[in-house]
Amino acid sequence: MNEVQSWQDIEPLLSVRNLTKFYSPGKGCGDVSFDLYPGEVLGIVGESGSGKSTLLNSLSNRLRPDSGEILYNSEQFGELNLYAAEESERRILMRSEWGIVHQHARDGLRMNVSAGANIGERLMAVGERHYGDIRQRALQWLEAVEIEAGRIDDKPSQFSGGMQQRLQIARNLVTHPRLIFMDEPTGGLDVSVQARLLDLLRNLVANLGLSVIIVTHDLAVARLLAHRLMVMRRGEVVESGLTDQVLDDPQHPYTQLLVSSILQN
C-alpha cells in the first residue's frame, strides 16, 4: 500500500515547540506546540482576547516570541529555525514561500497603486522582470479570484470590501506560496460576500494544496475550511483535534460553551 506509506513519510512543514509570548499575565499565548503538515488547514478559534492573533503574529514572523521555537521546512533554505535565522532569509521567505491575508485588506494591499501592480509587486520581489509576463500573470490571478480583467488598472480604493479581500488573496498566491496565514479573512464582510469568499478560499486551498493557519472566531468558517482546530482561551490551547470532532463532541468546558452559543438554523 504505497499511499499509506507515503502518508507516513511526509515531514511537517512547520513545527512549533512551546511557543510563548505574553504582554502581561494572561495576555498573549503560552506554551503552544503543534506540527503542521503539507496541505493541512489548521483553524485557531476562540473569543477576542484569547491570544489567537498574538499566536498568529508570532507564527508568521511578525512578533518575536519570549521563548519557544518555530521550525520551518523551507524549499530554498532547508530546515529553518525562524527567529534564529538570518534577517535576509526571513525576508525572502515572507515574499515567496509564505503569504499573509490580513483581516483588513488595506493592511495587506497598497491602496494607491493599481490592482495589477499590487499583484505584480510580489512577483517583482521574487525576481520577475518581464512586464508582459507580469501583467499576464496578474490577469490570470484576477480571473482566479473573480475580479474582471477590466479592473486591472483600477486602484483597490475603488473596490468593494469583498473585492479588496479577493485582491489581497491574489497578491499572496501569485508567487505560489506553500504556507498562508489568515487573520479573520471574512471578518467585516457582508454575509453574501463572505459565502463567495469562503467558496473561493476553499477551492484555492484544495486545488493548490496549500497549508494554511487561519484565525477566526466564526465556527462556521472554521468548519468549512479547517481540517483541525485549536481552541484558545486566555492565551492557552484548551482543546485541539479534528474539526468536526471538536465542534460536534467538544470536551473542554470552554469549547462546549463556544459551540453551544451558536444559533442553530
Binding site: 500500500m1 499511499e3 499509506v4 502518508w7 503538515y37 493541512e40 459565502a195 463567495r196 469562503l198 467558496d199 476553499r202 484544495a206 468549512l224 481540517h227 483541525r228 483535534g241 479534528l242 468536526d244 470532532q245 460536534d248 463532541d249 470536551q251 473542554h252 468546558p253 462546549q256 460553551l257 453551544s260
Partner: protein, 228 residues
C-alpha cells in the same frame, strides 16, 4: 472473511460542563466486529447509543475508553488514538459516512457536491461527473436541479443528494445514519440496491434504519444496543 471493523470495550460518557456538570454514560463496554461484505444494523430504542456508536466509528465523537480499529489496506488503524491527518486520509479513501442531513455549502451546485469526494481522490473530472449523474438519476433527483445549490431543496431531495455523495466513492467501510428517513418507498428501494451493490463489492457496512422493510432487506445481522 477479512475483518474491517473491530470495536473493543468502547465507553462513551458525555459531560455537560455548562449544565451543572451533568454526565451520562451512553456506551458502556460495547464490542463490534464487521467483516468485508457484511451489513450490520444497529438496533435499539431511541437513546440506546446507536448514533453515538456510529459517530465514534467515524471519529466524529471521541470515546473515553476502548479501541476502534478500522482496516486501511494492510493496516489496522485505531482511530481512538490516530492523528487527525491520519483520520482525514482514512475518510478520503476508506471510510464513508452518510448522515441524515446534508451539510450545504453556499453556492456549490448539486453535481459538484456529489462529485467532490471522488475528485478529491484525483479521479478525472469526466469520470466523476458521469458517476455523479448516474447516481442522481437513479435516486430520482430531477436533472433541472443538478446545476443548483441544494440549499433550497426539500428535505428528501437534500437527503438523496447526500446519499449520492456518500456512494460516489467505493469506500471499503460505509457508515449509514438513517439514510432513508425522509424517502418514499421507491427511493428507499434504490438505497437498498446501492447497499446491496456495495456489499457485493466487499464493503463492510454499519447502519441505522428505522424502516423495517429496509432493515430486513439489507441486514445480515442485527446488533442490539440496550439503553443504560
Amino acid at each position: 472473511m477479512t475483518t474491517m471493523i473491530e470495536v473493543k470495550g468502547v465507553e462513551k460518557q458525555f459531560t455537560l460542563h455548562n449544565q451543572g456538570g451533568a454526565s451520562f454514560d451512553v456506551l458502556k463496554g460495547n464490542d463490534l466486529s464487521v467483516t468485508a461484505g457484511e451489513c450490520v444494523v444497529l438496533h435499539g430504542q431511541s437513546g440506546a447509543g446507536k448514533s453515538t456508536l456510529l459517530k465514534a466509528l467515524y471519529a466524529n465523537y471521541k470515546v473515553n475508553n476502548g479501541s476502534i480499529s478500522l482496516r486501511d489496506g494492510e493496516e489496522l488503524v485505531d482511530i481512538t488514538t490516530a492523528l487527525p491527518r491520519r483520520i482525514i486520509a482514512l475518510r478520503e479513501r476508506t471510510l464513508g459516512y452518510v448522515s441524515q442531513f446534508l451539510r450545504v455549502i453556499p453556492r456549490v451546485p448539486t453535481l459538484q457536491v456529489v462529485m467532490q469526494p471522488l475528485l478529491d481522490l484525483g479521479e478525472e473530472e469526466a469520470v466523476c461527473e458521469a458517476k455523479a449523474k448516474e447516481l442522481l438519476s437513479r435516486l430520482n433527483v430531477p436533472q433541472r436541479l443538478w446545476t443548483l445549490a441544494p440549499s433550497t431543496f426539500s428535505g428528501g431531495e437534500q437527503q438523496r443528494v447526500n446519499i449520492a455523495r456518500g456512494f460516489i466513492v467505493d469506500y471499503p467501510i460505509l457508515l449509514l445514519d438513517e439514510p432513508t428517513a425522509s424517502l418514499d418507498a421507491a427511493n428507499r428501494r434504490v438505497v437498498v440496491e446501492l447497499i446491496d451493490e456495495a456489499k457485493q463489492r466487499g464493503a463492510a457496512i454499519v447502519g441505522i434504519f428505522h424502516d423495517e422493510d429496509v432493515r430486513e432487506a439489507v441486514a445480515d445481522r442485527l446488533v442490539d444496543l440496550r439503553a443504560l
